[in-house]
């Protein structure tokens, strides 16, 4: 068997097993949770006959394992069922909310990388200097401040008082449903439609929550970068490079940084995955209809189809990002080949 074929087979196999495990566990948790999906549909006042009819309609009278296989069969056909609450296909709901999170998280992680990595490198190179202290404080604030407080203060200052950015929501009321939804990501849709007024408005709405998420990932990325860099900078090969008279720029970026890329990829991939999971509080404060608040609302309302659908998507993201970072390992680290 050719090595590439074996690797591909193993990768696909591990995805399948992981997904099956994920589906099974979430399904079981969904069923054993002390919540009643029937009650969430029929409401508190329903008569017993209405309750019973919905109970049968949902197939809850069948054995758990049978219910699971029915569910698995549907998922294999990309059918996550219908939301128990709003009667829409869960796949449609996810297709609507996930691009909102994807757009926000991508912009957020971009801020995090662009600012966090140089800050971490600088803090390591100038260890103990004022830059290092500032980087430490920035990270500490990022770790310890409650996100809802930072979000509200950001809204108050930049939206409420200064009027520099848009308020809660993805676009202003004048621009709701103005551009056709192609990708579900308003910035891209507006650009495709060449509607720059919508683009500008959407950008003014996303900039604050994305900066906030970016700040959180920045805090993590900069600390990890600093720590990885310090380890490299104290290595003997760096001393040798310096003794040989190599410029500091080359020492830092061509030698030390090159060797932390693989570790950084893991950190960034994990940060990105966390953002893609949806930051519930950010989404709530900014009225951002993303997957985090979708899953949370569904969970609190016992809408198990929606919870399972959302969880599968989040699980899939983690798996895909893992595979992606594995691929990047191979590119950046010859030993892993």
């Amino acid at each position: 068997m050719a090595p590439w074929f074996r690797t591909t087979l193993l990768t696909v196999g591990s995805i399948a097993v992981t997904m099956l495990g994920l589906l099974f566990i979430t399904f079981i948790i969904g069923r054993v949770m002390p919540i009643d999906p029937v009650l969430s549909i029929v409401g508190e006042r329903a008569s017993q006959s209405t309750y019973d009819a919905v109970y049968l309609e949902l197939g809850l009278d069948k054995p758990l394992i049978v219910q699971f296989f029915y569910y698995l069969w549907d998922v294999l056909h990309l059918d996550f069922g219908t939301s128990l609450l709003n009667a829409r296909p869960v796949s449609e709901d996810i297709a609507r909310v996930f691009p909102a999170t994807l757009e926000l998280a991508t912009l957020g992680i971009t801020f995090g990388i662009l600012l966090g990595v140089p800050l971490g490198v600088l803090a390591a190179v100038r260890k103990g200097s004022w830059i290092d202290q500032i980087a430490r404080v920035v990270a500490l604030v990022g770790y310890s401040m409650p996100i809802f407080w930072l979000g509200l203060m950001g809204l108050l200052i930049f939206y409420g008082i200064l009027g520099l950015v848009g308020g809660p929501g993805r676009v202003g009321i004048f621009y709701v449903d103005v551009v056709p939804s192609v990708t579900g990501m308003i910035l891209i849709d507006a650009a495709l439609d060449r509607n720059w007024a919508v683009f500008k408005d959407a950008f003014s709405h996303i900039i604050l929550p994305a900066s906030l998420l970016g700040y959180y990932s920045l805090a993590y990325i900069s600390r990890m970068t600093r720590s990885f860099m310090l380890e490299q900078l104290s290595a003997e090969y760096i001393t040798t490079a310096r003794v040989k008279g190599m410029s500091e720029w080359d020492v830092v970026w061509k030698h030390a940084f090159k060797n932390i890329r693989v570790q950084l990829i893991t950190v960034i991939a994990l940060s990105y995955a966390n953002l893609l999971e949806g930051s519930v509080l950010t989404e709530i404060i900014f009225s951002w209809p993303g997957i985090g608040s979708y899953i949370t609302t569904a969970l609190l309302s016992a809408d198990m189809n929606a919870v399972l659908g959302g969880t599968v998507v989040v699980g899939l993201i983690f798996i895909l990002l893992n595979i992606f970072s594995d691929l990047l390992y191979r590119v950046f680290d010859p030993r892993s080949k």
Binding site: L39, G43, R45, S47, T50, S83, P146, G160, G167
Partner: protein, 533 residues
């Protein structure tokens, strides 16, 4: 967000706004557009035969006309003609014949006929969704509905199984389930005999002042004015209801002028918004009652003295004036204020000594432990904690179990909780709606499984009250009927295991150019068509 965080955030918002009192140029919504921030995550369907939650009822009220309806500018007047221009009641009091208004059209352009009205009511009975009981309580069943609800030319007749107070029947028809749908359009979208239910969950087929343009769950509801509305096209040509969960975010949007109305401000943000330029607060009494109920299966809680004692263990005024400030008023009766027959008698006060005396008389053992189920809503938990403190002073240990609505309700409906602390809102603007659940329980056995009745959920045999409720609902004379409900409530206050405590006040914060705003008080839902700016 917990109370402390809320307080800190609001304080910070207030301080910063005051400190930065620089003149700012606020945005303003267009003169013919109404933008509302509201929590709309409870909307599960917009089919009037199925819709039963608050935000869903708001949509329905503006999209669907009914046979009779309530005027948002004069709710006290009670039901008024809507699609039915007039009606007559037969001598035996069982049949009401409605004459339909001529020349009214649905949003589709189809004429509104008596046939559509008959279809709508029959459909609601046949589909038998959650709110169907509002109609089936008159004896309509899927089997007899073709006979009992009939269209004949321009008239519609409905025949109930026995004589009821006409006001009771007509009040029920003002509920969401009374929305009249466009039969042609609905049946064109019917699948597998569902009478268009699947389609109407997300689409509309009404003749009301607004057309539903779209509902994105947990995101927004958009409506546009129906220019051919028989009552005249509404002044607000577009209504956008945006789902904004966080109170502070709603307040910022309002103060910036990006929305006209904020409907879910917490008390801290209400008092903050009150001092903002261009913002006014509108108070309306709503139907929601907050109550504590004692399970009568519990050997101690079923003693009459204990039931009385618990009514003295609530610090009504203390809670109203602190963490419930502005959001609730004291109400110790099962009928909310603004309802026919509502009582203003609130005889119970916070009196630990009196409670102790009653508990001692009942022989309640010192250190008795009880479990109280509370939903994870801040105000309820705080009421629960206040109650826990009061109970501790008379030697009762209260264990609070906090859970999601579904967790706690499931146990309440199964008669498993010792004590339940929760809320109840009426379903239609007639006293029967609450009398028929708080004070009515014809079969108290477990087998009856009457989960819809609060009296049953608490295993309370209401004794003579059940017959009195049945009598009141058939009484034709309005004054006599009012007296009957007052009598029922007087006995209920003294003997029932329900400690009714508070009635909700909805505080909407509005831009000061918004006029005629109505959330429908206790009797109905929010209306947009009369709003001007």
């Amino acid at each position: 967000m917990n109370a402390l965080s809320r307080l800190l955030t609001s304080a910070a918002l207030g301080a910063a706004v005051t400190a930065m009192a620089a003149p700012a140029v606020w945005a303003e919504t267009p003169a013919d557009m109404l933008v509302i921030a509201h929590r709309i995550d409870d909307v599960t369907t917009v089919d009037p035969a199925e819709s039963f939650e608050f935000a869903g009822s708001d949509i329905s009220r503006n999209v669907y006309s009914r046979l009779v309806n309530l005027d948002p500018l004069n709710l006290e007047a009670g039901y008024q003609p809507d699609l039915a221009e007039s009606w007559e009641v037969s001598d035996d009091g069982r049949t009401i014949t409605f004459t339909m208004r001529e020349g009214v059209t649905f949003h589709s352009g189809n004429p509104v006929r008596a046939e559509d009205a008959a279809f709508s009511l029959q459909r609601a009975v046949i589909l038998n969704k959650t709110p169907a009981f509002i109609l089936t309580q008159f004896g309509f069943t899927p089997e007899n509905v073709e006979e009992t609800i009939k269209a004949d030319g321009n008239t519609l007749t409905i025949t109930t199984d026995k004589k009821y107070a006409t006001s009771f029947v007509l009040n029920c028809l003002t509920a969401t389930i009374g929305g009249i749908v466009d039969k042609e359009l609905v049946m064109a979208n019917a699948v597998d005999g569902d009478m268009g239910n699947e389609w109407l969950k997300t689409n509309s087929a009404g003749s009301g002042p607004y057309k539903l343009d779209g509902w994105k769950p947990n995101e927004s509801v958009t409506m546009s004015a129906y220019e051919d509305y028989y009552g005249g096209a509404p002044e607000m040509k577009r209504v956008i209801v945006r789902h904004v969960l966080e109170s502070a975010s709603q307040r910022l949007l309002l103060e910036r002028g990006d929305i006209d109305i904020a409907r879910n401000l917490n008390p801290e943000d209400v008092s903050g918004a009150q001092s903002a330029d261009g913002v006014v607060i509108s108070d309306e009494l709503k139907g929601r009652l907050m109550y504590i109920a004692l399970n009568q299966k519990h050997p101690e809680l079923s003693k009459p003295e204990v039931r009385q004692a618990f009514k003295y263990l609530v610090d009504y005024e203390g809670m109203r004036d602190s963490f419930l400030k502005g959001q609730y008023t004291i109400q110790q009766n099962f009928l909310p204020q603004t309802y026919l027959g509502a009582s203003e008698e609130n005889p119970f006060t916070y009196d630990i000594a009196k409670a102790k005396e009653l508990l001692d008389a009942a022989g309640v053992p010192e250190g008795m432990e009880i479990e109280i189920g509370v939903r994870e809503a801040q105000e309820r938990i705080e009421i629960g904690q206040a109650f826990q403190n009061a109970a501790a002073q008379v030697g009762i240990k209260v264990n609070i179990t906090v859970g999601t609505a579904k967790q706690i309700l499931a146990r309440y409906r199964a008669r498993e909780l010792d004590v339940y602390l929760g809320a109840w809102g009426p379903d239609y603007p007639d006293p029967q709606t609450n009398a028929g659940t708080f004070a009515y329980n014809p079969d108290n056995s477990d087998e009856a499984n009457a989960t819809g009745l609060l009296a049953w959920r608490n295993s309370w045999d209401t004794g003579g009250l059940t017959a009195q409720v049945e009598a009141a609902v058939t009484e034709g004379d309005r004054d006599t009927r009012i007296q009957m409900y007052e009598d029922i409530q007087a006995e209920f206050r003294e003997t029932s295991p329900f400690v009714v405590m508070f009635q909700q006040i909805e505080q909407s914060a509005l831009r000061d150019n918004v006029m005629n705003w109505s959330t429908g008080q206790a009797v109905t839902s929010a209306a947009y068509w009369q709003v001007t700016k």
